[in-house]
Subunit: 476 residues, 2 copies
């Protein structure tokens, strides 16, 4: 770290201007670029690789629960939306509409899917005839579109990529169990793959998915103290099954209406990674999803044998399944250190003539910036152990930071002070919409999630008896 | 095969009504279903799994050539299309247009991408500044939309899934080489993964991609003798680079315009698999992409030990990386044989009490329908060897059939007779558009691909000196 970090100067100070820091990081590390249509983004290879890792980790988990991937059409007849009243109310204002195709005005306008309950419901009503067809569990990885006024790469864009799982069940209990099981899968994934600690639980009625009976969420604390809804799992009851006529012949020979669920995570998760782990030098990527897990920087690269030694090391690590690159560019080592730190690569290896002579190498870890000298002969085991430790440490660090920033409040002033200080605030709530609205108005914080199993005496707003404890925070 | 095949009765006769056979097969094997919007399809899990195998096989090949995956926006401002004159002419009639979004009429209508040269060109003009930024190679897996009048699942639908690769180069030679290299990758993939033999080469000017300098294609012969364009690779010269201002500072410090390529394959490939290998019993899937490579059917399943033996076998095969399922449903073995044959599963294992006693099992291969008795102890090696042999045999069989059906013709009558008989017809061509049009008018056949390196005396239409030999065929 001898040299002045020229990249750090290009990135806004994370403590002084977090939003600008975020924008600088996503653009300068080439994660993303702005698309020509307002509110759209280009997901560049460095971010898309993270998305591919997310997909493959998720797919393993989905498969274990018997979920199969499929693909449903992008365009949905507008009339489908109107079939579930709450759903259309929630999504109609954000929808993009195709009115002309093949040179002709369409008889019925077509919506670009903002989510696919309506079209998947339609197909399921055809596929589900008997209890033998249940449960039915499908998932799709696709693009969706929600026309947003204020946008930010990964966090809120007109178009984004996601997965949406949809299941159909014979009973309410089974569907509710599925909703919970998917939430648990999301939590396991967020914590163990992305090193992002999450709070999980139910949403208030106000924050619920349009058309759901109950929405469950995982909420993550970003470094600025704001909450990010990182994934949701909805118990839809019979709302969509009734609207789309998903009926089946039960094992008792009666005709019954099914119960459905849906659940999704999106490219938002990339935003969550950035804002959970990033620091003044740029990205800090969790090893499990890092596009490059280890970068080798040759020191005194022109000295005989250095490049060859770096190449040999690269091959050895690659052979062990580590995602590794060797930076042979003309830039100085200091420049390279800065660049790969900005890009958040978990482990950097420095290898120069003296190290080679001594059978050593230097390992620098991105999370703590610690440097250690390691035996060259144990390169594979050392790097593997380091990656594992970084993954673990990143989760622990993020969890500790978050837990220190969950506070309690008894009244509105306490909530305001809490969120102003960048905390999650737990407070008693009577359960009425007015008090929930009032908190948002006065503090900008919304009810993120029920703190299940906790209790409070009084509602922080009206002072009446509290029915629940809610975690309030400002949110993305 | 003792029992009458009840499924075969449900599928139209492949020899009597090929189009109906195709429709029956894709629907009854649950590969696909019709979407609610005309011309759209739902890709069901059994087909989507094939698509996922195609993706992972392709991704390995792309990566080796330094191509990185990314994601570009779905919506393209209409004004972008007009920048490359031939391109807009080719695609404008098929485009679906968003005119309303977020409850408001848009100032500029937005096209749903029919292909992404225009938007990727726009981004590349921003990313490419110096020769050091070249070559730039990106690929995206995405949905595209082309409003088609006549549609058929997988072959021609309003929306389909594909990959589109786009590369930018400093020289024409390098871009041309890339175009050819991708064509070779497609050919290798089609032959070795899908067991589909293809003819590769250049397209005539008439059949060229709108905006390309040259289009290269791989053409596959379906069982009805029609050709299916299974993938294309375009050398775009400076057409798009000029229109979208992709310029760079060369190593000689001069400003230069870049050269680009694009190339793609789509879910059409699934249609190609069906129509290359399918038979009167239904699908025949190549092992490399089959969602289920091996099905175990218990014989006399209620006898003690049978289900346990089948489960143990399943675990053993699964542990060896074979995609295997065990059909424990209540249906009869005969019913199961028919069902899994219809679904095209490469290997069926029958395991009953006598086999278990003798340490044997029966293996039936889907491609030749041959049954052999195999030592239970060598199950893994036997199934692996069988899958390998089936993959090889399917390609050889398809190649032999195709080669027997490539004929020569000297005149129009010969071309007509050839295509009527379900052949690919090689014929001399003077090179003029009139003769090409005349062949289409009179025979329904189009120029599929140049037969490079072959020569003929005279044009089959006008009798003038032939400049080229072309393969003509009716096509999907």
């Amino acid at each position: 770290m001898a040299k002045e970090n020229q990249f750090v100067e290009q990135i806004a100070d994370i403590n002084a201007d977090f939003p600008q820091w975020y924008t600088d990081v996503v653009l300068k590390t080439k994660l993303v670029d702005y698309g020509p249509v307002k509110g759209t983004m280009v997901i560049r290879p460095y971010a898309y690789s993270i998305w591919e890792s997310i997909q493959s980790e998720m797919n393993v988990r989905f498969k274990k629960r018997g979920v199969e991937n499929a693909y449903f059409p992008l365009l949905i007849p507008m009339s489908y939306f109107t079939k579930e009243a709450e759903h259309v109310e929630g999504f109609a204002p954000e929808v993009a509409v195709v009115t002309v195709a093949g040179g002709e005005e369409l008889a019925e306008p077509l919506a670009i899917r903002p989510t696919s309950e309506t079209i998947i419901g339609t197909m399921c009503s055809k596929w589900v005839q008997s209890y033998r067809d249940l449960p039915l569990k499908v998932n799709q990885w696709c693009n969706v579109m929600r026309w947003e006024k204020t946008t930010r790469p990964f966090l809120r864009t007109s178009e984004f990529l996601w997965q949406e799982g949809h299941t159909v069940h014979a009973s309410a209990a089974e569907a509710e169990e599925e909703t919970q099981a998917m939430l648990e899968i999301y939590k396991d994934f967020a914590e163990n793959c992305l090193a992002i600690p999450v709070l999980t639980g139910r949403k208030t009625e106000k924050e619920r998915f349009a058309g759901a009976v109950a929405t469950y969420t995982m909420e993550a604390m970003m470094k600025d103290g704001k909450s990010l809804q990182a994934g949701t799992s909805h118990y839809l009851g019979q709302n969509f099954a009734s609207a789309f006529d998903i009926k089946f012949l039960g094992d008792d020979s009666t005709h019954q209406t099914a119960y459905t669920t849906s659940w999704g995570v999106s490219t938002r998760l990339i935003g969550a990674i950035i804002m959970t782990h990033g620091d003044e030098r740029g990205l800090v990527l969790p090893p499990v999803v890092a596009p490059v897990q280890c970068v080798i920087v040759p020191i005194a690269a022109r000295k005989p044998g250095v490049i060859e030694a770096c190449e040999a090391l690269k091959e050895e690590l690659e052979g062990a399944g580590i995602k590794v690159t060797c930076d042979k560019s003309d830039n100085s080592p200091g420049w390279k250190f800065n660049e790969w730190e900005m890009k958040g690569v978990p482990v950097r290896i420095e290898l120069g003539p003296r190290d080679i002579e001594n059978g050593k190498m230097i390992c620098a870890r991105r999370d703590t910036l610690e440097k250690t000298e390691v035996e060259r002969a144990s390169a594979v085991e050392s790097v593997k152990a380091l990656l594992k430790d970084i993954q673990k440490n990143m989760l622990e660090t993020a969890r500790k930071r978050r837990d220190e920033r969950i506070v309690y409040a008894d009244d509105m002033q306490g909530i305001l002070a809490g969120v102003e200080a960048g905390n999650f605030v737990k407070a008693g709530w009577c359960g009425c919409r007015e008090c929930e609205d009032k908190i948002k108005e006065d503090t900008g914080a919304t009810a993120r999630v029920f703190a299940e199993g906790e209790s409070a005496e009084t509602c922080a707003v009206c002072g009446k008896k509290a029915q629940h404890v809610i975690i309030f925070a400002r949110a993305y």
